[in-house]
Amino acid sequence: MKEDANGSRTGSVLLLDERDNVLVTGRPLRRGQVLEIDGDRVETLSDLPIAQKIARCAIRAGDGVIKYGVRIGTATAAIAPGEHVHLHNVKSDYTPSIRADGTTAEKDS
């Protein structure tokens, strides 16, 4: 992604803050698509719609997930670079999140 003083935000994946350990998809990605992340070639592991998070680096279970430069939750499993980061491997440090089927994220993780 490129970002300048006027706030351009475009690219396949966006890095919102230098401190982040996740990237955000700026357009839909297909499984197996090769991305360059910090100089490394990383293959996406699943199809992903827009605005999803993928790991920028290896994240261990129990590590904080950092987006916008701040902690947005805790990893509940090890996450590989390029892997989708969402309810299946992250939980809130505050209150549980609801899934589309009505269950809460923490109960079945």
Partner: protein, 399 residues
């Protein structure tokens, strides 16, 4: 850009609309009130009301602020007759603000048919009078603008919300008062937000308001986080909060308001929407329109609504400018959207471009332009039970 015009009100505020309001004071009067407003709903006659039969100080003061809002020129109160709402007090408060006001009590007017007939003729006469009223020039510093986000997804915090924040910064620079809200959606960013407070005491109040929200939602067992948020890529309330927080922009935070408090001057304010005291009446805000109504009760002339999943709502009383954060959603719902912030992700605009477009859109509302939701007839409104303590002295330090 100027040429802003408004309707002057006795309290010094100016309205960018001049609506007749029909207000029911209990659900039992809702149908009659709706029938009265119905024929002129596209001609500037709006419907609001409170459904409860039991008294509530919050609802009483919300109704006072809404019925004396600068966008309102005349008010018809519709009462069944036996509800607890203090209609006499409300009528006097509206009268004191120089607005035409009339109360119809259904039980004393001969029932449904007779009240609808009498109400319609009163409303039509006021509408005709208001249509002859003149506007006066208005400055950006006369404006109060609110912002909310709803139907949020992962794009909201990247495009629409930070663009709304830039619009806020531009308006505040020209003296406007801007209000952001939903303390339950600021959980996790209370400390970085507090650093922007104009005094240390206000900083503590900001943190306390978010801690109150966290405790409140904790008791309920659920955060302010809907299934659609997760489907749109948001994982936790902290993540949703950081995205929502971006719509506050970068200006210093001048104060903390409770619903119905008017900002005492220009600058940026946080609206604390979570009730005080123990959890009593369920969810703090049962939907987006409950928050929009509270922003309007604080005097907002218009509200910026940033959506990712694609909300279509508008509001009674004040126009709602819808900013679509997600480019795919915009493609599906363009007819409902005022601003396409999703084009930032496609490389067709910057945050700065979209921020300016949002600001120009808002200023255009005071030059006769209408929002998409106004054109489509959206006039959603909801008001339910809540309870608040007055804001403390450190909440408005500069005034």
């Amino acid at each position: 850009m100027n040429g802003l015009r408004g309707y002057p009100r006795p309290d010094g505020r100016k309205g960018i609309r001049n609506y007749v309001l029909v207000a029911y004071l209990v659900e039992c009067a809702h149908h009659v009130a709706r029938e009265i407003a119905g024929p002129l709903r596209d001609e500037g006659v709006h419907l609001v009301g409170f459904p409860g039969c039991y008294p509530n100080d919050y609802a009483q003061s919300m109704m006072r602020e809404l019925c004396t809002h600068p966008n309102v020129g005349a008010v018809l109160l519709v009462s069944l007759g036996c509800e607890s709402f203090n209609r006499t007090r409300l009528e006097h408060e509206i009268q004191a603000q120089g607005r035409a006001v009339q109360t119809l009590v259904i039980q004393e007017t001969g029932g449904t048919r007779a009240t609808i007939a009498e109400g319609r003729s009163w409303v039509a006469a006021r509408r005709a009078e208001l249509d002859r009223e003149d506007t006066v020039p208005m400055a950006v510093s006369d404006l109060v603008i609110g912002t909310i986000c709803g139907g949020s997804d992962g794009t909201s915090g990247i495009t629409g919300n930070p663009a709304a924040g830039r619009a806020f910064d531009m308006l505040i620079e020209n003296g406007a008062a801007c209000i952001f809200e939903e303390t339950g959606e600021l959980i996790g960013c209370e400390h970085i937000m507090a650093e922007r407070a104009v005094t240390p005491d206000l900083a503590s109040e900001l943190v306390a308001s978010v801690e109150k929200a966290a405790a409140y939602y904790d008791t309920l067992g659920l955060g302010s986080f809907a299934a659609g948020n997760a489907a749109g890529g948001l994982t936790t309330i902290e993540e949703k909060s950081m995205g929502a927080y971006a719509k506050s922009g970068n200006s210093p935070i001048s104060g903390l308001l409770k619903p119905g408090d008017r900002p005492p001057g220009g600058g940026l304010y946080l609206l604390d929407v979570v009730p005080d005291g123990e959890v009593r009446y369920g969810f703090p805000n049962i939907n987006d329109n409950a928050e929009i109504a509270e922003l309007i009760a604080c005097g907002c002339h218009a509200v910026i609504f940033v959506t990712g999943r694609g909300s279509v709502v508008g509001s009674a009383i004040s126009p709602v400018v819808k900013v679509c954060a997600n480019p795919d959603t915009y493609d599906r719902l363009a007819d409902d959207m005022d601003v396409n912030a999703g084009r930032i992700l496609r490389g067709d605009a910057t945050l700065e471009d979209v921020g300016r477009e949002i600001r120009d859109n808002l200023l255009g509302l005071a030059c006769g332009h209408k929002t998409r939701s106004e054109e489509l007839g959206h006039q959603e409104f909801i008001l339910t039970y809540k309870s608040f303590e007055p804001a403390g002295p450190s909440c408005l330090p500069a005034f």
